[in-house]
Amino acid sequence: MHSQNDLDSNRFVIIVITMIILFSILLIKIYDLQIVKYYDLYSKSIENIYRKIDILAPRGKILDRYNRVILYNNSSYNLVVYPAEIHEYPETWNKLSQYFQVPVSKFKNTMNKNMVGYYFPALLKENIDYQTLTYLYEHILELQGIDLVAKPVRKIKKGANVAHIIGYTNQIGKKDLKVKKNKKYKAGDIVGWKGIEKEYEDILRGQNGTKYMKINAVGQNIGEEYSKRIEPIPGNDLILTIDWDLQSYVESLIKDTSGAAIVINYLNGEILSLASMPDFNPEIFSTNLSDKKWKDIVYNPKYPLYNRAIQAEYPPGSVYKLVAVITSQEEDVISPYFTFNCPGYYRFGRRIFHCWDRSGHGSENIYDAIEHSCNVYFYNLMLKLDFDKWVKYSKILGFGQPTDIDLPNEKIGNVPDREYMKKTYGRWGKGYLLNFVIGQGDILVTPIQLARYVSIIASNGFDIQPHLVKAIYYHKKNELEKKKYPKEKIESISEHSMNVVREGMRRVMQGEEGTGRHSNVENLDIHGKTGTAQNPHGKDHAWFIGFSEKPSFPYAIVVFVENGEGGSKTAAPIAKKIYKYYWNLHNNEK
């Protein structure tokens, strides 16, 4: 050991300085954590002692107009595991595996798939049945690492599906989650996907509470810290305008058709029944929907998820003739008693337009024409009208625009105006108008638009907003708030025009030759109009609109039957049954 040490002592100084720097960096950062950020980090460590668990707030109930609960919550239980905890108690896996007869590896895969974090519950099994639930609760102390979480499920009063009114709830979609994140939604939250559930999401949705479970050193729950508990605030209840009995009846009545029926109070816009068929049972969406069931609904060729009452856009057929009647009276084009002759056809240039009755109606004034639904009269009338005026009254009567019913995804149909014609056909002739006046061709309406239209006529010119929610019950304030809806007198339509239309409609039902006379109901002073929409793809679609002029019974009805062939054949008889039923019910309820 004689090698001379020639190390430079300057290097020693640099090494010491480096050491001082390194240790200072550490010390400064530790000082920052332990002294500067102490309070913040200390409170975080306290939060860590508790396992925060959401207490799901029940969604609001939905009641009918007589406060009968039609949609409520029921609990379903989910089995969850805490990955960190069950890791320490592998025997829990074996016990679960034995009970459920599921291999441990499969369970572990499920856990890994559903894991959000090592210290957060991961879903293992949904919708635990009652027997299993009791078993698990009895053995919960031996099954360390598991927990049972109650999950509210939506249940519907037996008797009707009310599917297209209520819609359904399900876990929030990924896209919605991005949009709604600032509203405190998180993955797995239940939201309304359709119908009232969607439209009134903010009101129905409660505010989840939180419970703080203390955990001991090995990660077991050792009881709740009640002082920290934040109680959930249940969602608010909705009181609908729907009459449950009527709704059940209407649903059963049209169950086997594809179509829709609406019963509305034309004085205030309250919808007493709204049914669209085919439908589905909304309950199944809040349980664990199997793939097959889901496909059955989504790929059903009749589209049960499609709410025909507000989304079906079809030509209205003859019910639209009344628009021309109103236009002619408002614009003083023709006297109601002026007659046109109907030989059963109408020659327009080189084309022949037939009346639906090819034997002809003979000489007809406006009332006759409505009563018989004479096409030839209206061809003549249309050629006297200013197309733009006709478009104007179409729009005043609510066509081509939403009714603003409180349901999502309402369709607006189509009113062909000059601009539309130019865009669609380029050069166009008046021949098109002959189709439009009798409600065929490019005119598209939805049943709910017709409900508004018939309400305007029935109420002598008052425009109402069709709606489903009558009142909201706020739990927090313990207060019932009645919802207010607009109702406006349409100034640009005179009483005279309305009277002409109504007299025509009266004769449709009560006249000796009325197209709806077989569907009249005595004593109810029923007015109506039938319609048949030509369908190049199959059987024609049937329409009926009508109302009772009895002051104590201010109800209008719209019936739509897909491929129903003729308004008077299929749609009007349904309306008749509804009137009869509701008149009896109405008297009994009184």
Binding site: S3, L7, K29, I215
Partner: protein, 408 residues
């Protein structure tokens, strides 16, 4: 015979008592915190405290052995020892029975050990030999090349195992010893420059500034223009290629590399550990939550709490005051050891001390830096404090080597 005994007794008599006191203070803190960290654990871990006591015992024996070794033998067999070391770290690549997914462990009978641990010793010894015996002038770049090659072989192998932490430590051993040996700082700069270039290449402004710095430093130090141009252009080329390669590699590989440098990018994995570790440390405050009262520790929010994250346990339960004491203990010990090295009359001994001290110094810095979120989580334990036999033996061995170096 009698003479030999008396030398050994003399050797122990003159041992640096302060070092021994500091080491045993650290061991005491270690055992207390391992007890705390494992007290509520499930049965499989609960005897870690006892195990660690046994490891301390074995460590002391190792210390005595290493301390007693005749340094002449080390100098003489340095190359042989080094080659055996390299063979040992290659071995895991060929034994199919390696226990982990990574190739760090070798199982020989019932003993399972991390071979890379011992490479630290062998590297220190051979580098010490080189710096003692080399005839190449310090002022020539050739002086740097043999130790660079000697070091890069094990560093490369360890990095491929893959064990980033240990390869960094080995790099530090090389750097520390090279620096202390008195090599021109410019040569160290030349070694570091390409690494800085790679990082600088990700930001244009930084890259331009770095280019200027590079040019100035090289110009000031390089006598002939050709080598100036060579070194400069070489670095710039590296810088240009880097972003190109970066864009070529797959996103998950990029992610992995980024996570290596910033664990916060991966909040469920290493990031989660660091977040919880910081909460533990911060929540300890000045006085700590009290012994056995660390909620972060006992509720197991701290992962690896008695091994890599033991510092968090100590910080949570004992607070800033004890953390300061621990840092002071480490600082004092390292200061003493470096001082011993520079005062030592024997260069081989001095270099052994520098190598050993540097190893432990960077373990301390990397480990604590990791627990407080300054440095990536590389899984390096804290000397004398973390649970784990392999590393504790390394620490005692290094202490033995250092104090052996200090003895006559």
């Amino acid at each position: 015979m009698k003479n030999k005994y008396s030398t050994i007794i003399n050797k122990f008599a003159e041992i640096d008592i302060y070092s021994i006191i500091i080491i045993f203070s650290l061991i005491t803190i270690s055992l207390l915190s391992i007890y705390s960290a494992t007290i509520y654990k499930t049965p499989s871990d609960s005897n870690d405290f006892i195990k660690q006591m046994v490891w301390v015992g074995i460590g002391i024996i190792i210390f005595i052995i290493v301390y007693s070794i005749n340094k002449k033998l080390l100098l003489e067999y340095a190359i042989f020892i080094y080659l055996i070391g390299v063979a040992l770290i290659i071995l895991p690549f060929f034994t199919s029975g390696s226990t982990e997914a990574t190739n760090r462990w070798v199982k020989l009978g019932f003993i399972q050990f991390q071979t890379a641990e011992y490479m630290k010793f062998f590297l220190i010894i051979i580098l010490a030999k080189y710096f003692t015996e080399t005839n190449i002038s310090k002022y020539s770049f050739l002086y740097v090349l043999p130790p660079l090659i000697i070091s890069l072989i094990p560093i490369g192998i360890v990095f491929a195992q893959p064990d980033l932490g240990t390869s960094i430590i080995l790099l530090m051993i090389f750097g520390g010893m090279l620096f202390a040996s008195g090599v021109r700082l410019y040569y160290i700069f030349l070694l570091i420059a390409p690494i800085i270039t790679i990082f600088a290449a990700f930001n244009q402004t930084v890259f331009y500034i770095w280019g200027v710095v590079l040019a100035v430093v090289i110009f000031a130090n390089q006598s002939n223009l050709l080598s100036f141009a060579g070194v400069f252009i070489g670095n710039i080329l590296i810088g240009i290629i880097t972003p190109f390669i970066w864009d070529r590699i797959l996103p998950y590989q990029q992610q992995r590399i980024l996570t290596l440098f910033n664990a916060n990018l991966d909040p469920r994995g290493a990031g989660y550990q660091v977040i919880q570790s910081k909460i533990a440390i911060g929540s300890g405050g000045f006085w700590g939550k009290g012994y056995l009262n660390g909620t972060q520790t006992h509720l197991k929010f701290l992962p690896e709490q008695h091994t890599d994250f033991i510092f968090s346990v100590i910080s949570e339960e004992f607070g800033f005051i004890v953390v300061f004491v621990i840092l002071a203990l480490f600082f004092t010990m390292f200061y003493r050891w470096y001082k011993m090295a520079f005062k030592n009359t024997d260069k081989f001994s001095a270099m052994l001390i520098i190598g050993g001290t540097t190893t432990l110094l960077f373990h301390v810095f990397i480990n604590i830096g990791m627990t407080i979120g300054l440095l990536p989580v590389t899984g390096k334990p804290l000397p004398f404090i973390s649970y784990g036999g392999s590393f504790l033996i390394t620490c005692f061995g290094l202490a033995g080597l250092i104090l052996n170096g200090n003895s006559d």
